[in-house]
Amino acid sequence: MKVWLAQHREALLLALRRLGAAPVNSLLSLLAIGIALALPAGGQMLLANALQLAGTTSAVPQISIFMAANAERRAATEIQSRLGKYGGVKQVRLLPREETLARMKANPGLRDVIEALPANPFPDAFVVTATDDSPEAMEKLAVEFRQWPRVEHVQLDSAWVRRLDALLKLGRTAVMVLGGLLGAGLIAISFSIIRMQVLTHRAEVEVSQLLGATDAFIQRPFLYYGVLLGLGGGVVAWLLTGAAALWLRAPLSELVRLYDLSLVLQSLGARDSALLLGFAAGLGWLGAMISLRQHLR
């Protein structure tokens, strides 16, 4: 066990020494891997943020119910209590017509128009959220509400929800495809770098074999080299996405505010970061392994 640890430590040190022996080369390799990985990592970051955004208030799909303009308040209260008891309804918010009027009057452009009108043109309205907000369930609720007395119009904003949903699905697929492609790219980079390493250290490999080294002993420093390449590239990718998050944060918040939403762009979370580094190291190892199969012995 102690011997095993010592041999791994030695292989790791040797790999580090070899990385350090050609610092410019190593740095460029890490940068190439890092940039390749930064694309899917950045995509994952944006996706996580979009999901989070979708999870905040406005992105929850809602049903808007408008009463008839001449309906009495009593009719609205009745609907409200009915909604409150209705299965599948999560939350009901009444928007009284007076409030709506006041809110609209606050808008200087609309004030004159509204004041010219003889009566309050706005009906009482409800905003309803559902426990099951799948498009199908929402549609079913809307159909139901349309039957209720004095209800004039029921609006389902599921079109928007569907669009967002589809967009997120597309995003997820894109990140996965990108991750797959660039992961394969990483394996290829590691493969060819390790091939160069084997060629560079031919003499050492041959001497080690003659002195009784096992294949595992000979492969170990090369494998560590591959892991370090992947891991280093992963760290570069992580730093790049972090920097991009910082850089995009202000303009994106601005953009999102235009839609009445709020978002502070977050870099990769702990789980995604760990995944990124783990995958990068693993793929570096895999590329090295395949390369050694081809180029040793």
């Binding site: 074999q209 003659l210 002195l211 009784g212």
Partner: protein, 215 residues
Amino acid sequence: MIRFDRVSKRYPPGVDALSDLSFEVAGGQMVVVSGHSGAGKSTLLKLIAAVEKSTTGAVLVGGQNVSGLPRSALPYLRRRIGMVFQDQKLLFDRSVFENVMLPLSIAGFPARDAAQRVRAALEKVGLGNREKALPVMLSGGEQQRLAIARAVVNRPSLLLADEPTAHLDSETASDVARIFHEFHHVGVTVLIATYASDLFPGAKRLQLDHGRLLP
């Protein structure tokens, strides 16, 4: 210790390097393998360490037929044999100390005792004060002694050396020869391929001629 039983070695294009060779070396013996260039001396040593495999016949080392060893068993055979290669095979990007350390690392020798072993081996060949030097900074004789130190650091009971005194002036050559005599005197079985057999008086002779053993 070593027994060749009707051993022949043919290299791929059809060169017969060794033909129908039979001999025996007892444990603790010192043997000089001599012969013209191309006689098959290097091939004979390579067969013992299973660097090459015999085409026919058995090569027994410590009772084990090494010609039939699977690849996975080779490391353990080689760790029991010290080898000084004709072209030395030193690692030029590693210090003298690290070159001698390599066989111990390979064998998984505990680190603390390993450093002592390395120093002892370097002392033995007179390189005690050159630990940190790189091989290029050494003279030809010193490089040869470094190769010997690396071969013996594992304390093998069998030491093989291929032309260890080639390219050395006569004084340096006899220094190097003396080192082999010392190992012989402490019981190590020593096989040396060389033209300069007079440097090893008292050794058993195996004379090769075009791959055949002369009587």
